[in-house]
């Protein structure tokens, strides 16, 4: 793989992100807003019978918002790729790169860099708001490791769509499935407090394992770690193949 | 004040100015008159002030200073009456992609107050006239550029205006569509006596259609007259020679000066001469340059065109005009009105 190309692509995306408020602000503000709305507005839900999450409702929601921001950060990378193809800029990369997989790697690297900024701000705000963290260093490493893998999976998913559609009209295609998958999970209460159809759907939703593992990490009581990491590693591998297919389509289209 | 039917179809402009906040004067004091039934071509490069002038004359933009009467009505004080007399096809085709051609007609006829009984007939008549009958029920989003322009023209004619404003109507069209539009505009003027104020950046369009041409640059009219008169004022054919070596420019100019006056507005890298003896002197020019041992990269004989008129008045070619920096006020290039 061409490291230089990947770094160049990543640098450009990151540079545009930091020098353009229209990109920077929403990626920070929206997660903060969701965190505030869920943790602040729904804090009473933490008092429901059977809701005995040790670190409190703020930490419970922090994990969801962290993974949500990881996923949507990856999706917004796809928007950038689509924009580049639509405007013709992507052709520069295709012409310059000897190994074009490095282009996708560069975009993914940029997504991770941007996500790291968001997570730093989100975590700081959560701690200032009094979030209890029961987990230690290793646990938190596990939590953020999951977030990294979710970000990578989402970026590769969105990249695959973007390179197939090569237009911002593909935006809803990237966003909607991501949104569906995130919200058909135990967002507001743990899985065992859900019932009916949503319990059935959430039980088979791979995101549920990631959420439960993440919440286990932050409370210092790790759970379903192996399953969560198996899923979290499988998803980027699967979407890497998807993205590679997208790259081939884009190359064929010229 | 009574307005006779002749005045009703003309345009009179005096000292019209449009200034934008913190910006340049887009229109910097223009005077012009368009006689009833005339096709007036308003020619200039991008950014010259053509569209701004049209927006003012069609009452969509108030002038900063100056006066204008369209169809005998003051554009500032009698806006609604002006609008009743005019039709306009502006720079964008201004169509709704979700409506069909027929639905556009229906809307436009109704808004202009045509009686319900007449709307369909009028709409069908105009659609047929511009060759859109078959496509009338298709959504405009699926129309080609030429079809959109034709529909745009038809919509401008719905209420039978006496004065028609066309702002770059053929920009982006293929030759066939352009010619069809020219034919229709010429017919409107010739057969129906419609006064047409046409802005364009295409020389051949102004040449082909316009009875008279006003050339605008940087907000001012730099030349005005019939195309033939403007070209004749530039007059004799011009030979322009560009030497291979830039250092030979003075020698080229010296040789050419034996054959007539230096041409105005010569491009920097060459020299030009207005041939007193006509095109037949070209061979002598070539021999003279050869005798001096000057290597020539390019030698061109120009029959005068409107671009030459523009070049003569502004020192720039119409096609390159928008790339040049604005002249300072009071400089030779800050053109005077004339033609």
């Amino acid at each position: 793989m061409s490291r230089g190309i990947a770094l160049a692509v990543a640098w450009r995306s990151v540079h545009n992100y930091f020098t353009n408020l229209a990109f920077l602000l929403p990626s920070i503000v929206f997660p903060l807003f969701f965190f505030t709305a869920f943790a602040g507005g729904l804090s009473a839900v933490g008092n429901l019978p059977g809701f005995d999450f040790p670190s409190g409702y703020t930490a419970f929601q922090f994990v969801f918002v962290l993974l949500q921001s990881a996923a949507f950060g990856g999706v917004f990378t796809g928007f950038g790729i689509a924009r580049d193809f639509e405007g013709g800029f992507a052709r520069r990369f295709l012409l310059a790169a000897t190994d074009r997989r490095a282009i996708v790697a560069g975009y993914a690297l940029a997504a991770l860099t941007r996500a790291a900024v968001t997570w730093a701000v989100l975590t700081t705000v959560a701690l200032v708001a009094g979030m209890e963290v029961g987990g230690g260093g290793v646990d938190l490493f596990g939590l953020f490791g999951l977030a990294v893998l979710v970000n990578l999976a989402a970026a590769l998913w969105a990249a695959g769509v973007a390179m197939r559609v090569r237009s911002l009209q593909g935006g809803p295609l990237m966003q909607f499935p991501t949104f569906l998958v995130l919200f058909l999970a135990p967002v507001y209460v743990p899985l065992d407090l859900l019932s009916g159809w949503i319990h059935a759907v959430a039980s088979v939703n791979p995101i549920t394992a990631l959420l439960e593992a993440g919440r286990g990490f932050i409370s210092g009581e790790p759970t379903v770690v192996a399953l969560a990491f198996a899923i979290a590693i499988a998803l980027p591998l699967l979407f890497a193949l998807w993205a590679r297919g997208g790259l081939r389509r884009a190359e064929a289209a010229g | 004040m009574a307005v006779d039917s002749g005045e009703r179809a003309g345009i009179e402009v005096e000292g019209l100015v449009r200034e934008f906040k913190n910006g340049p004067r887009a229109v910097d004091g223009i005077d012009l008159r368009v006689a009833p039934g005339e096709i007036y071509g308003f020619l200039g490069p991008n950014g010259a002030g053509k569209s701004t002038t049209v927006l003012m004359l069609t009452t969509l933009l108030p002038p900063t200073a100056g006066t204008a009467r369209v169809g005998g009505r003051d554009i500032v004080k009698e806006g609604p009456r002006v609008r009743a007399l005019i039709g306009a096809a502006l720079q964008e085709a201004a169509l709704d992609p979700l409506l069909s051609g027929r639905e556009h007609m229906r809307l436009q006829t109704a808004l202009h107050g045509l009686p319900r009984a007449e709307r369909t007939a009028r709409g069908d008549e105009l659609l047929a006239r511009v060759g859109l009958s078959q496509a009338a029920d298709r959504k405009v989003g699926g129309y080609s550029g030429g079809m959109k322009r034709r529909l745009d023209l038809a919509l401008a004619l719905v209420h039978g205006p006496r004065i028609l404003f066309l702002d770059e109507p053929t920009t982006g069209l293929d030759i066939q569509s352009r010619t069809a539009l020219w034919d229709e505009v010429a017919r409107l003027a010739a057969e129906e006596g419609v006064t047409v104020f046409l802005t364009t950046q295409y020389l051949e369009e102004a040449d082909a259609l316009a009875d008279r041409v006003g050339i605008i640059d940087r907000g001012r009219i730099v030349a005005e007259g019939t195309p033939a008169a403007l070209k004749a004022a530039i007059g004799r054919p011009t030979v322009e020679a560009v030497p291979h070596e830039a250092t030979d420019r003075e020698r080229v100019a010296a040789v050419l000066s034996r054959f007539g006056e230096a041409g105005e507005g010569t491009r920097r890298e060459g020299a030009s001469v207005l041939l007193e003896g006509g095109e037949s002197q070209l061979a002598e020019v070539v021999r003279a340059l050869d005798a001096e041992g000057i290597a020539i990269e390019r030698l061109q004989l120009h029959a005068p065109s409107l671009d030459d008129v523009f070049l003569a008045k502004t020192g720039r070619s119409l096609e390159g005009a928008e790339d040049q920096p604005a002249p300072e006020a009071g400089s030779e290039e800050a053109g005077a009105v004339g033609g």
């Binding site: 009473a44 859900l194 | 002006v82 306009a88 709704d96």
Partner: protein, 259 residues
């Protein structure tokens, strides 16, 4: 010759309705997205009804008020982006060259919002009732609920028109969505006001008019007839409409500077 005002309004209304109906993506997203969120939220927060003081046993009934507000937000976007497109393409100039009156333009443009509002209200209510939500106010309450929903949709639509006239840009109108989103979230959207424990959130939600709009819808769904809640809801809706139309009319004067 100038068309009468009713003719002008009628023609523009016709166009507005046609455009709305010919953009299925707009209709589908305005219908599907709020219903999806209703399904997710009512499923995920079902047990919130166990909280002492929760006004109903059915979280679905409680949450059914939210799609009506979300639908109104879509009206901001749809009406606003349609008008912004007219400005960007020059179609507004075309209309300005006719004897069209400003009042007719604004009224006509909102006709599409009325149609969409009716479709939304009917759909949300039907789906909610089929899914098991209650409507304590019965059939007459359904009519009032639809009326409130439509008036809110039109009111928000007028804000969209103002945004379009002020900015002339579809992108700028779209960028308003997060602002309204915030108003919706920092409200009694998920829990009743008196069950919001976080003090600052409670204070902001209490000052947020959206909380009282939600309460108006909920009064019909949960309680039956509560004149005070209904009156406040309609009053807020009317205030939004008046403010929106005034702002839009002022912005139209600047945008349509014809002499």
């Amino acid at each position: 010759m100038s068309a009468a005002l009713p003719t002008q309004v009628g023609q523009l209304a016709r166009r507005s309705v046609l455009r709305t109906l010919r953009q299925p993506a707009q209709i589908v997203s305005a219908l599907v997205f709020p219903l999806f969120l209703l399904a997710v939220n009512s499923g995920g927060l079902k047990d919130a009804t166990d909280l002492p003081g929760f006004p109903t046993d059915s979280y679905l009934t409680f949450a059914l008020a939210v799609p009506f507000i979300q639908g109104a937000l879509f009206s901001v976007m749809n009406a606003g982006t349609d008008l912004a497109r007219d400005i960007e393409t020059g179609f507004l100039n075309r209309l300005a060259l006719t004897p069209l009156r400003g009042a007719a333009l604004l009224s006509g443009l909102l006709a599409g919002a009325v149609v969409l509002g009716l479709m939304q209200a009917a759909t949300y209510l039907a789906v909610g009732l089929i899914a098991g939500a209650e409507l304590a106010a019965g059939a007459p309450g359904a009519l009032v609920l639809v009326a409130l929903s439509v008036s809110l949709t039109v009111g928000f639509g007028s804000i969209g028109l103002f945004a379009a006239l002020r900015t002339g840009s579809g992108e700028a109108v779209q960028s308003l969505f997060p602002v309204f989103f915030v108003f919706l979230f920092i409200s009694s959207m998920a829990l009743p006001l008196d069950l919001i424990q976080t003090q600052w959130f409670h204070d902001v939600a209490s000052a947020n008019p959206v909380s009282y709009l939600l309460q108006a819808f909920r009064s019909l769904l949960i309680e039956g007839w509560n004149a005070g809640d209904l009156a406040l809801g309609f009053a807020i809706s009317a205030a939004i409409l008046l403010a929106g139309m005034y702002a839009a009319a002022t912005a139209l004067k600047s945008r349509l500077v014809r002499t």
